[in-house]
Amino acid sequence: MRNVSLLLKQISRLLFIVAAFVAFGTTAHAQDPAKGEALFKSSNCGSCHKIDIRMTGPALGPTITSEPDEAYLIKWIQNNQALIAAKNPKALTIYNEYNQSQMSVFTNLSDQDVKDILGYVKDQWKKVQAAKATPTGDGSGAVADSGPSNVMLLGLIGVIVIAFLIILVLNRVIGTLERLLLQKQGILPEDTEEEEKPAVDRLATVKILAKNKKFVFFVVLCLVVGLGSWTWVTLWNTNVHQGYQPVQPIKYSHQLHAGAMKIDCQYCHSGAYKSKNASIPSLNVCMNCHKVVKTESPEIQKIYNALGYDPQTQKYDSTKAKPIQWVRIHNLPDFAYFNHSQHVKVGGIKCQACHGPIQEMQEVYQYSPLTMKWCIQCHKRTEVNFKGNAYYDRMTDVHDRIKRGERVTEASLGGIECGKCHY
């Protein structure tokens, strides 16, 4: 099966390439897609247009291919305002359809430039259509690729183990029954003595060991120490969820956004600098980029669904909106007051100090234990960030201590007093 589908795929690719060459060959004289691509990018067409999807402006592929009058297209692209001013009916329809949003004027583009761009667009549109056609034949292969999931594997193993156990038990039962049958029939003699002997032998070694007091003491000691330390560790870590990594409703990757893209934490978690909550960004923050970026991704579609946003019409429908329920990872108990702005803005602490290498996390997990011991340790170690903060100017006592060369830690300013966090 797999070979057949691969073969089909290759054939379709080949056909596509041939078709592309044919197309290229026929249009090469008039329109140069390579040049067109460069112009398309340098003129920032992409900021309002996409080939296949309607954005601020119409989807270019279908619009351009369905437009028979190339001269009109060139005029429109070069100076759409003039066409609108001249009340060209076609121009007015499209202008009104797109909420009278102004398209930039490109008088700097020559007719040939525009033709090149059109060539590029048509070229791309064909590729898109071809790409849409191919994956349908490829479906069965994709499933085979992904392989059995972990759940299935575990389930299978479970079934096998259970089956094996049943077989064992049944064997035992059959054996016993057979023996009983034979005994009843008198074919087999009752073999009690024979069976006792090995049992006595086995127990004998245990008995010898049990008589050895040193050994017994050692075993008991090991048990006490082992169980004791296990209990100790378990009890201390009750309700400590270090490493907690729940599955989130959207596969958002901090590694991609904070790591690869180097987006500042504050861009999304703006609350961290002014509030006690770092705050999970509201979806309008996501939409600042994802109105344009990766619009086809199923994860981004989840954002659209949550907002009731239709990428085709670019309209929000608040009746369809339903908030996203993220799973909270860092859960401080209610009786502990924590304020992000105190630490991030005033203290100048890096986010990573508590949240760990967030820029490397595909999925976020709880990096720190979030225990009181952990808080206090940090307060005892961390020196207060006085630099340039006039708040501390009047605190003469602190100045004296700095002059004496003492370390002024958070704790020494009262940072480990109960009421500073518990109220």
């Binding site: 002014k274 903060n389 109960c418 518990h422």
Partner: protein, 1014 residues
Amino acid sequence: MESNKKYWKGLEELNNSPEFMEMNKSEFAEPLPIEEVLSGAGLSAKTPRRDFLKALGFGVGAVTLAACQKVPVHKSIPYLIKPEEVTPGVANFYTSSYNGQGILVKTREGRPIKIEGNPEDLIGGGSLSAQGQASVLDLYDVTRLQNPVLQKDESSWDAVDGFIKRELATVAASGKKIRIVSSTVHSPSTKAVIAAFTAKFPTTKQINYDAISYTGIIQANQNSFGKAVLPHYHFEKADVIVSFGADFLGTWISPVEYMRQWVSNRNNTSLQNKKMSRHVQFEAGMTMTGTNADTRIQIKPSEEGLAIINLYNAISGTTLPGSKQLSNKAADTAITLVAKELLAAKGRSLVVCGCNDVAMQVLVNAINSLLGSYGTTIDLDNPSYQYAGNDAEFVEFINEMKRGEVGAVFFMDANPAYNYFNAKDFTQALAKVPLKVSFSDRNDETSSLCDIIAAKNHYLETWGDDNIFAGYYTIVQPTINPVYNTRQAEQSLLIWTDNPVKDYYSFVKNNWETNILPQVGLTGQAGWETLLQNGVVKTAGAPVTAYTFNKDLNVIAQNIINRSNQLTASGANAVELLVYETVNMGDGRKANNPWLQELPEPVSKVTWDNFVAIAPKFAEKLGIKEGDVLKVSSGSHTVELPVLLQPGQAQGTISVALGYGRTLSGKVGTGVGKNAFPFFTFKNGTFQTAAPASISTTGDVYILAQTQTHHSYEGRNIIRETSFDKYLKDPSSANGRHEAEHKTYTLWPEYNRPEYNWVMAIDLNACTGCGACIVACNVENNIPVVGKDEVRRRREMHWIRIDRYYSFKEGNENVTEEREIDKLEDLDNVSVIHQPMLCQHCDHAPCETVCPVLATVHSSEGLNHMAYNRCVGTRYCANNCPYKVRRFNWFNYWNDSRFDNYLNNEHTQLVLNPDVTTRFRGVMEKCTMCIQRIQGGKLKAKIDQRALKDGEVKTACQQTCPTNAIIFGNVNDPDSVVSKALKSERTYYVLEELNTQPGVGYQVKVRNVNETLA
């Protein structure tokens, strides 16, 4: 000790009754049965060891199983599209107004959680009353209607609108009268809406109906000066204030404003300028104002008129017909002396009367005219619009209904079925009206009689405005979208009249832009936004002019005498009955507010009930004891209420509070106390609050939930008081620090407070005992409401309480020895002091040393911290606290169906302050000096990179105090207000002889007593 005066909280304490002594032995009402167990009684019981092991086994097992519970998954749901001005975790403040007073509404994530006074406000200047503080809880009241009600069934606005438009058309066609009955409307835009409604339906008339009416004053001003207005009083300009039963600090017209004015001549600044006003109160029942007066004289309601006539005679030198001596000799002498004082302070004096009788008020006008008060302490040119009700108009309206002339009636903020004295008459008349509409937020007594309840918004969900006195305008802006499917009354009226302006917001905005904003030089959108930012505007106002009274007083005097004769009770069990408004419950419209129900009434300290107040001596004469249930009959109305022995109550009189006995107010307020409104009478064109009554015992006994004698000080001297004369001679008189300093010893090392040392200064001379601080503290610190039964068990949770102490008046030196108390002779003649008591944040705190788990420890900022999660509930700290300010959570109040007051409801819990933990069962709690505000203030200063300014952090109690009696701040800063206040010679510390080194300093109470009058 300079003063040997004895202060007592209640008669039990004064008499040292055995029950009281017994109860006082332990901190908590119900001791643990430890002694029983130790004495062997417990051990000899059957198999105690086995039971113990069983219990232990079960306990361990249960706890283990409970601990096996999986940790719940917490969801975090961000905004879909975050409003720009909202930052989760940061509060926003919006201006609005409460009953015409400018306020700031604190919202968190879009929901209002606290109300503060607007510092720009002319009424409160940043302060707010207890009722204002509590009003935020009404927004989350689950009893509120969620949809409009049409013919008893929940319906939709479309159906209601259609129904009403049809019916109104029918009424208009029939030419019948339309009446809008409301409590006084002082909103310019609402008036405009009603005017628009009247224009469309010309048979409409609006009737102002106030449950507690001031028609007497308004009519008297009409008769005397031709101006039917409620004057704007200026107590701050008065050096001598004489009040006849007017509780102007507690309930009368505009108490918050009057408190501020009154205290401006009595606070620390004024005293340092050697100036203090003199305040004499003549009254029957003990009111909060009476407790604060320099001299208080008891006077029966029937003799009040006579007393005013005598005062007029003494001031004018003439004799009105019918004048005679009062039966109360002390009052007679007082009148002559007061007349002299008033004349001496001509132009700087003020006489007010709380009576709603026109003739009495005319005579008071005549006195004020003689004293030159008009133009100085009384402003008739910029009147107050707070009350404009006309009682006769309302009575006439009932007659109109009876005659079948009324085709439609609309009730706006009016509940006559509850608070009209003849509710039956009203109900029967109302049944004859074809269309009855009520704008109400709940199915209350009147609404339940109506065809339609046009469910209205809470004021925090509405647009609107207020004009509480001439020239002063405030805006009401919503701080939350309507929670339910409700609509404000004005909006409904606009819709029903097909007004071209569709929404009330535009209507208000237009009204301001055309009528009010130009007066203060604001225009356009910018002007409107400035208004929303400031919340209040003040126009120039009319020039204040003097008025002279020149009407004939002979008829007036005759009317007064007649009224007095009618009030005089005769017979064996006859008494004079006076109904009054209390500071916490008002006229009863907030009866469903648990914070107000649990706020102790300032004088009696009773919660969750009203009662019959009676003088102890008079009660003894009648053989009545505290708690006896009495049957009180007056006119055709009879109620059964428990007795409270109230020192200071006039002999032969009883007082009953209004505002209780609601039958349809909601889960909290329904059935609390008894309704006293039916005791009103309609005489001489006004509702009268006094009437003759008869009382008889029923034999039942009822225990009132009274907080006054909880938290005993074992008779230690904690109140310091002096007279103004002594203060002038020696400002430090009576501060108790004149004896040679005795050496103090301490076991503990001294700690320094390098940055801050948070302390408080409380001026006993400014505190009026109004209780606004208690409610403010409840709101700010998520303090649970425990209910009547728990208060009886001494388990109220208030972090700040106001202790009310009685003492016998100066001159009775023999009262110091308990045995020598000539008890009942003096009980009529008591003076009262209010003392706010909260955690003193002692530097050597007795609570800290006894805590076995170090749950309560001291901070480097001078605060006594309480770590709830560390507390195991031994209650040693409460036992060891000499100030009795620690509170124990006997139950998990916020999730326990037995406390169905408000906290165990998810919707109502939205009012909780998210910055303060709710405490669990078995945990101690107490005042933190609003540590969340301290921390928040410091953080804000750090973020702004500047030093923390003095006054930037205010505690909730300080912020809401109308008299600025509470000052909080950093005593390490020598320039801070609190440092200066504590340097006052009057400062003393409660129980400082114990060397607890409290952080709260009190300032000696000064009474401006006239030696001859005392």
